[in-house]
């Protein structure tokens, strides 16, 4: 959906990334950069009130961790897409970001075309994934209940189809090949992955809501 109107909010302290995003938006004139924060404090104040559809979040902010703002946004803007901006895409940190509510990630150093493709992919219900991340997710979902953060009554479980998808991603297959192997649509493969991310984050959401209720904030 290249003609869709998309509002983007950037949380990033590196001015070259801001320029890169601005340049990228020239290719999609119907998209708008509706907000920018260069610190965690600024983002905490403004981002949760923004009407942006997509938040691009850097994990290494000068005054704190991007994971903290992801948690707040996951509660304040559950319908928005939270894309992590990362240099290396190291899976351990990505897994934590997904648990905090991220719905995808983009590698810094990508081209404008790749950034546009990543935003379009999450807007269309898809989600990026790597073989290592899939492997980690398989492990995470197989872990005993106690190892999940702040034990919830209903531990998320993988469906048979989601397990099949994750196993094939972990073996290096790309979405198109997985769709052929499992005889499903390419979009369905992406949807399965996105659902997995939602399942991972649901614990964080439940946990944050619980804490907020206890503190009388909700």
């Amino acid at each position: 959906m290249p003609n869709e109107f998309i509002r983007i909010y950037l949380i990033e302290d590196d001015p070259t990334i801001l320029r890169f995003v601005e340049q990228t938006l020239l290719v999609r004139p119907q998209w708008r950069l509706v907000g920018h924060s260069d610190s965690l404090a600024h983002a905490r104040l403004l981002a949760p009130h923004s009407l942006a559809d997509v938040f691009l979040v850097d994990l290494g902010l000068p005054d704190g961790r991007g994971e903290d703002i992801l948690r707040s946004l996951a509660i304040a803007r559950p319908d928005a897409e939270l894309l992590v901006f990362t240099v290396f895409g190291d899976e351990s940190r990505l897994l934590e970001a997904l648990q905090c509510g991220a719905t995808g990630y983009v590698l810094k150093g990508c081209t404008s075309t790749e950034l546009i493709a990543a935003i379009e992919q999450v807007r269309e219900g898809g989600a990026p994934i790597s073989p290592l991340l899939a492997r980690m997710l398989l492990k995470q979902f197989r872990r005993p209940e106690a190892s999940w953060p702040e034990a919830c009554d209903d531990r998320p479980a993988l469906s048979e189809r989601e397990t099949d998808v994750l196993k094939l991603v972990a073996q290096g297959y790309v979405n198109k090949e997985i769709a052929t192997k499992l005889e499903i649509g390419v979009a369905t493969v992406s949807t399965h992955i996105k659902n997995l991310y939602r399942k991972l984050a649901v614990h964080t959401r439940v946990q944050v809501v619980k804490v907020a209720q206890e503190r009388g904030l909700l």
Binding site: D90, S130, P131, L132, V169, Q171, G172, Y173, E177
Partner: protein, 276 residues
């Protein structure tokens, strides 16, 4: 015999008996005291011995701890050296090439060329970081990770990747160091396919073999090996490239075999289950 003499003899005999008994008692007491001293001496010696054993144990423990620390230090050193070597040969040389290109350009430099070189350096760094992720000898996951890095260059060259990777048993030799060796081997093979083979397809397969062996095969449908497989002859995989692959494979406990895949070239790695 007079009665006085009888008394005298009886008294003497009693006196002698008494003296004998006293002597016997004295000997008994002396023996008792001596045995007591011996027991005490044995106890003292035992205590000293136990103390010495405890001291020796503590010393041995210290030596063991030192050896353990030294072994850990040695492993860390080896890992540090490996990473330094990788950085030197990979990322370092790429950055030097880029720097030299920029310095010697005399204003005729194309930004796309520099961007491509920096992109390559960044990919190299990502590859190194990938190798450090815990993969537990999971060959399909290792290959899948590498596919993300090398896939785009195959695609750009118009070569279709036929991915037939199946789940395999974990491979003991594929720790972080081993992963990097395998990355380099596969990178070299695929780079040769792109540069020299004129192939349209590359097939990557993995499977579990007999006796716990795991196999990886990479085949292309290009112009084939020709003289490349003959040591000392020229060709796409001849010389240093071929030897590098063999040496790296040996380091991860794998044997490597190059074969005619008619029409292209095939390379098969066999990982031994017993390699530690």
């Amino acid at each position: 015999m007079t009665p006085g003499l009888g008394w005298h003899i009886g008294g003497y005999w009693i006196l002698s008996l008494g003296a004998g008994l006293l002597a016997l008692l004295a000997v008994f007491i002396w023996l008792l005291l001596r045995s007591n001293r011996s027991v005490q001496e044995v106890r003292r010696l035992n205590a000293t011995q136990a103390g010495r054993i405890a001291e020796r144990e503590a010393e041995l423990l210290k030596v063991f701890e030192k050896l353990k620390a030294a072994e850990q230090q040695r492993l860390l050193e080896a890992e540090r050296r490996r990473m330094m070597r990788d950085m030197h040969d990979g990322l370092g040389s790429q950055l030097v090439q880029t720097l030299n290109l920029v310095r010697n350009s005399r204003g005729e430099l194309q930004s796309t060329q520099v961007a491509a070189m920096i992109q390559q350096a960044l990919e190299e760094l990502r590859l190194m970081l990938d190798s450090l992720e815990p993969m537990d000898g999971d060959l399909p996951a290792i290959l899948g990770t590498l596919r993300q890095r090398v896939g785009p260059s195959l695609e750009a060259a118009g070569i279709e990747l036929d991915w037939r990777v199946e789940e395999t048993a974990p491979i003991a030799g594929l720790d972080a160091r081993g992963v990097m060796h395998l990355f380099r081997c596969v990178q070299e093979i695929l780079a040769n396919v792109v540069k020299h083979s004129r192939a349209r397809h590359v097939r990557v397969r993995t499977w579990d073999g007999e006796a716990g062996c795991v196999h990886l095969a990479i085949e292309d449908d290009g112009q084939g090996a020709g003289s490349a497989l003959v040591p000392g002859r020229s060709g796409p995989l001849a010389g240093r490239g071929l030897n590098n692959i063999r040496n790296r494979a040996a380091q991860i406990g794998a044997t490597v075999c190059f074969y005619d895949a008619a029409p292209g070239l095939g390379v098969e790695f066999s990982f031994s289950a017993r390699f530690q």
